[in-house]
Point group: C2
DNA sequence: TACTGCGATTTGAACGATCAAACCGATTTA
DNA sequence: TAAATCGGTTTGATCGTTCAAATCGCAGTA
């Protein structure tokens, strides 16, 4: 049956007042130990669970994190694993993830507003940050808590807001070194069109590793639309230009490059395909990234809320920035 | 700033009472047109949005749909696209999707309980239904609204609960016919281990199409663990056994089969990889499936709630069952 | 003895919405 | 003319929790 256990039931069962039960749950240190135990036992026995709607009404905190679910553009992506990790970490911290969709930045901002009116999520997790991202400034202006998975590309201040990201450059640098160690001297890179922060980051790791050896990287670089067929065409060109091994900006492109000939290829993201076809690839620590996002947010929320408007408390601390290293998963392809 | 517009603000602004505003929003037909317009204008001007927490406290309805996010086992899967569709359809119907994770059925049932206590989702959407699924009976016993994406495999009653699914047999039958039309006479099938409802369903469409022509399918069938390498091995065997074309239970397996030789291959699920490598595959109408799930649930919720305990109303109607057809996406591989 | 201080606990009010019942003015019915 | 009906609207109570203030018992101090 639909047992509906309220705080009053627990209070009665433990012979204390409602408020004492509330205190046990929210500020246990201010309740005498003996009382606390009695209340906790009652909570246990009755199977009490706090009603978030009622709590939220009083406190304005919903214990919800809002995340946009992306529309899996064309490629194989990585978002679902991040989302899974986020859901898990959030649950551990007593939060739940609520989803929304949006076609573009403007409509996403509209959705912020809707969500805030109806469900009052405590914070937002943004992904796919990009040049000229207006979402972060909107959230900041409204004093809302949020973290981005992805650096704030293109903003000179290096990000006035907290973010978590994976160091793409470190990844491609590791991949390039791996190929150098195997004896390759002419290592090509297949990238995305200019203007993508992630793309330039990944390109950078490859380039700087070659430059550090005194090589000029440019001749062995090609940009593609990110498709497998684009990757295959680019790989043919690079092989013709003398490349003996290839680092790719994504698994999608790498998958195409594999068709182009018998040179070692390294992809990025370690998507399921990579495992299936034996593609060496860079694996993002997505579960950890998600956990760090949750960590950043809970820290932010547990200290002075950003939207409390108070100038003091945690508001003035510099926002946290977390950069994680991807790891090279070595398979047959390189 | 954090404008907080309540129903009382709207009421004042429109010179009516709180309840009239509430009526305009919930039962507009009982408000005089002139008043209704005035209230709607006030809602618009003030940017009012109903506070779900307050509404839920009074009504017990949260306008949340709970969905478990799966842990992307090994393979490339299809869940993320379903989830995206679900979020979109739900939003259109005034609902939001809240996520949870679970390691197995038992812990999932525990999570049902937690969620119901804390967030009171109006309904659950279950995926990955399987033989002996205890989750559906738990939900049914507790009088909760839910729909499964996937048939209730193995229950003789054909499902006492509503479900939405994609007709896998119809898909593989279409694939098989496509190969027959191309002139193939010895068409193999690479499947999953016995005991999977989805796997047997997909196998069935291939088998019955051959049987209808008077052929014996068994000699050209192999079961695998679902991996690409398993698919490759099975494909080699089948080709050696005389198969000139292959229908596969998944894209993962099909990807392996492609490596085995130069015979036509058809996969299932039309994952991003299929597009990348030119694999002909069966595409599930996931957005529509998601929309139908939402449709089934809203119908259920808008009629007599199942958990209202009332024997009358919509409870006695037979639950809705929706079976959708996948479509064959023809690419280079077949 | 009376006052102050303090930790632990209780009480009343409030969050924002909806339900149920009351109310009101105009019309119909007896 | 009084009563009943009816559409439209308003009023009071309530959902379950937490905040703020009040209360209580007890020890320390003047």
């Amino acid at each position: 049956m639909a047992e509906k256990v309220t705080i009053a039931d627990v209070a009665r069962h433990a012979s204390v007042s409602r408020q004492t039960v509330s205190n046990v749950l929210n500020t246990p240190e201010m309740v005498r130990e003996e009382t606390r135990d009695r209340v906790l036992r009652a909570v246990e026995e009755l199977g009490y669970r706090v009603n978030q709607a009622a709590r939220r009404m009083r406190t304005g905190r919903s214990r919800l994190l809002a995340v946009r679910i992306e529309s899996t553009q064309d490629g194989m992506n990585v978002f679902d694993r991040f989302l899974h990790g986020l859901t898990e970490s959030a649950a551990r911290a007593g939060y739940r993830v609520i989803l929304y969709t949006a076609d573009d930045d403007r409509s996403e901002i509209g959705t912020f507003d809707d969500l805030l009116g109806a469900y009052e999520p405590d914070a937002f997790v943004l992904t796919s940050t990009h040049f000229g991202d207006v979402r972060t400034s909107w959230l900041a202006e409204h004093g809302l808590a949020f973290v981005t998975f992805g650096r704030p590309w293109g903003t000179p201040d290096g990000g006035a807001h907290p973010w978590v990201d994976v160091d793409g450059a470190a990844g491609t640098a590791a991949a390039t070194r791996h190929l150098l160690d195997a004896g390759h001297r002419r290592i090509g890179f297949i990238g995305w069109p200019e203007g993508s922060g992630v793309g330039e980051d990944r390109r950078g790791g490859w380039a700087r590793t070659l430059v550090a050896r005194g090589d000029r990287p440019e001749p062995l670089e090609r940009r593609t639309d990110g498709s497998a067929s684009g990757g295959e065409a680019a790989a043919r060109e690079l092989i013709a230009a003398g490349a003996t091994a290839l680092v790719c900006v994504s698994d999608s492109v790498a998958l195409g490059a594999l068709q182009a000939g018998d040179v070692p290829v390294i992809g990025f993201d370690d998507t399921p395909v990579a495992g299936a076809v034996g593609l060496t690839s860079l694996s993002q620590p997505l579960a950890e990234a998600a956990a760090r996002c949750v960590g950043v947010l809970t820290a932010l929320l547990d200290s002075g809320l950003p939207n409390s408007g108070l100038p003091g408390s945690g508001a003035s601390r510099t926002p946290e920035h977390v950069l994680l290293e991807p790891s090279l998963v070595i398979r047959r392809s390189a």
